[in-house]
Amino acid sequence: MHLVVCIKQVPDTKNVRIDPDTHTLVRQGVESIINPFDLFAVEAALKIKDEKGARVTVITMGPPQASESLRDTLGLGADDAVLLSDRAFAGSDTWATSTTLAAAIRKMGDVDIVLCGKQAVDGDTAQVGPEMAALLDIPYATFVKKLELPQSGFLKAVRQTDEGTEIWKIPLPALLTVIKEIGEPRMPSLRHKMRAKKAEIPVWGAVDLGLDPEFTGLCGSFTQVVRVFSPPRRSNRIQIKGTVEDQAEQLFQYLKNAKVPGL
């Protein structure tokens, strides 16, 4: 069985903040990390590998330095990694990203399960997984929290929805996007780390994927950012002071005036 995990290198948003005076993004000390949801996807793949035996390939689309994230996943136990990198990929929206990732998966040919995190924490779109599945014309399930392979050729996925949970039976090949409950990522092992250090990570560009650069990156995107601005600031920040009884009274009045339901 061949499993492909799609990951994304993202800025560590916990260090991103807005300068209160200039209203611009302060990136000082912002490091790149693997999107946390994608680590759950890697873990899901490695669990299948542990239980059933499988080859796990991790791919990402990004600048050359994104290969470091791929190397980290080899340290966790993934077998292979491929970097999709080309200046022609810059500025991709979710459609162009899906096109590029789908082309790589098609090139590999023998993929049984594609795993993605439910969304990336920088863009928060949750669109690339489903769009990729549509382009590959394979079935998919989003927000998967539990995964079983009870019989060959099928998988059973437990999805978390806004209303509860759903259990789906899906024929392979299939694509899944996973959430935290699928399992906390393991720690890298020394053995895998040693191998990861020496591993060759191939780089595929537009030509390797058989993609016309005119249809990748910003050129191949359908959506465009036309304006970026700071979110409006909350104007009425009120500190409620006094004894706890005073505080309770004031908060109660404020919330009642704000017509909060239930109060």
Binding site: K14, G91, W95, S98, E131, T165, V226, I238
Partner: protein, 399 residues
């Protein structure tokens, strides 16, 4: 490709360099350089007060006859004959867009055994026409069937705009609709507007809510967006007239490779975070699991849901389905009350869209107070019982 700088306008002030999340802009001796790290995100463009930075436009592609697409559509999500509130919210927002364009507002209902009554309800929120696809195959949601039905409807009727709620259902299958139609999609919008030329201006938070971005889809139709629930206001339009059109679709629209084995509704009402008007959330400040009863008691009193920080979930004080934040749920209730939560950025991105935020914390410097509408610096073990008592007193008075 990367951002370009008009050297005649650039004053080498360095503001763009500080703003670039990729670290791709550097200040050389007397000019600004943009490296290949540029991801064309466009953040720098707005920071430049001299208008010196521009990014190239998206590919023109074979711009189809865009004018042949007319009308604004809303996918009205429903389960078991009940329309999700976000459908009413989007029709109200869609009504404004349709009026500005002078076009029809359509609603789409998919399901099994759909009653005309719920379509009438959509008309009362401004729909001019409600398209119903009714089939036993649509009883349970599957991405394949639901997307194939909408794709077929769009191909037949050619609306210029298609909106859906950014719910777990919308965010799951709408991307498949967009990819099948070969058009752009913007996720989780919080604001919609329309330009003179009919371009949908889709505004959404990015970089964990640290910036807002306005996005357009210039050359493909329909222009598609999912919109966050509870952001748009539902407006009833008494006396608004519309008609219902039941549409027959070919059998292949109802084929699916996925089989739904079981649908289990969440029994724990307090875990229904995305629907709740009020969420009371607890964090590490509660010190132990049993103290969550302070949170639960208040939530029950006001009919709200119970949320939790990552810390509280990691301590196993409460189930992961209650977690709010980056790796949990994104919520935007009328009232979000954070109790004993310090407010790590991962938590803030999941709740800062809430209308009213109350923070209760002992530490006056806790970052949660930066986003709180009302800050209560207090020992939660003293404050919470006092607050509950105050509400109960009011209730007693009413009785």
């Amino acid at each position: 490709m990367k951002a370009t700088i008009d050297r005649k306008k650039c004053t080498v002030c360095g503001v763009c360099s500080d703003a670039c999340p990729m670290g791709a802009i550097s200040l050389q001796e007397n000019q600004v350089e943009i490296s290949d790290d540029c991801s064309l995100c466009g953040i720098c463009v707005d920071t430049c007060e001299f208008g010196a930075i521009s990014i190239p436009e998206v590919g023109k592609g074979p711009a189809e006859d865009l004018q042949s697409y007319r009308g604004v559509w809303v996918y009205a999500e429903s389960r078991e004959g009940i329309v999700h509130k976000v459908g009413h919210e989007l029709l109200s927002a869609g009504r404004v867009l349709a009026d500005r364009r002078g076009v029809e507002l359509g609603a789409v209902l998919l399901g099994a055994g759909i009653d005309d009554g719920i379509a009438e309800e959509l008309i009362s929120y401004g729909a001019d026409v409600v398209y119903i696809v009714d089939s036993p195959e649509l009883a349970h949601f599957t991405d394949e069937r639901y997307s194939k039905c909408i794709v077929e409807l769009v191909r037949r009727k050619r609306p210029e705009i298609l909106l859906a709620g950014a719910t777990s259902m919308g965010r799951s299958f709408i991307p498949r609709v967009a990819a099948s139609l070969g058009t752009g999609l913007t996720a989780d919008c919080t604001e919609l507007d329309i330009s003179e030329e009919g371009l949908l201006l889709q505004t959404r938070p990015a970089f964990g809510g640290n910036v807002m971005a306005t996005i357009i889809c210039p050359n493909q139709r329909p222009q598609m967006a999912t919109v966050r629930p509870k952001v748009m206001k539902p407006v009833k339009r008494q006396g608004h007239n519309g008609h219902i059109e039941r549409v027959e679709l070919p059998a292949e629209c109802f084929e699916a490779r996925v089989e739904v084995l079981e649908v289990i509704a969440e029994k724990d009402q307090t875990a229904k975070l995305t629907e709740a008007d009020v969420i009371i959330s607890g964090g590490r400040g509660l010190r132990k699991g049993e103290n969550f009863k302070l949170i639960e008691e208040l939530a029950q009193l006001v009919g709200g849901a119970v949320g939790a920080s990552r810390g509280a979930v990691e301590e196993e004080w409460i189930a992961p389905s209650h977690q709010v934040g980056q790796t949990g749920r994104t919520v935007a209730p009328t009232l979000y009350m954070a109790v004993g939560i310090s407010g790590a950025i991962q938590h803030l991105v999941g709740m800062q869209g809430s209308q009213v935020i109350v923070a209760v914390n002992k530490d006056p410097h806790a970052p949660i107070f930066d986003v709180a509408t009302y800050g209560v610096v207090a020992d939660l073990f003293e404050f919470m019982p006092a607050f509950v008592k105050r509400i109960k007193r009011e209730r007693g008075g009413e009785a």
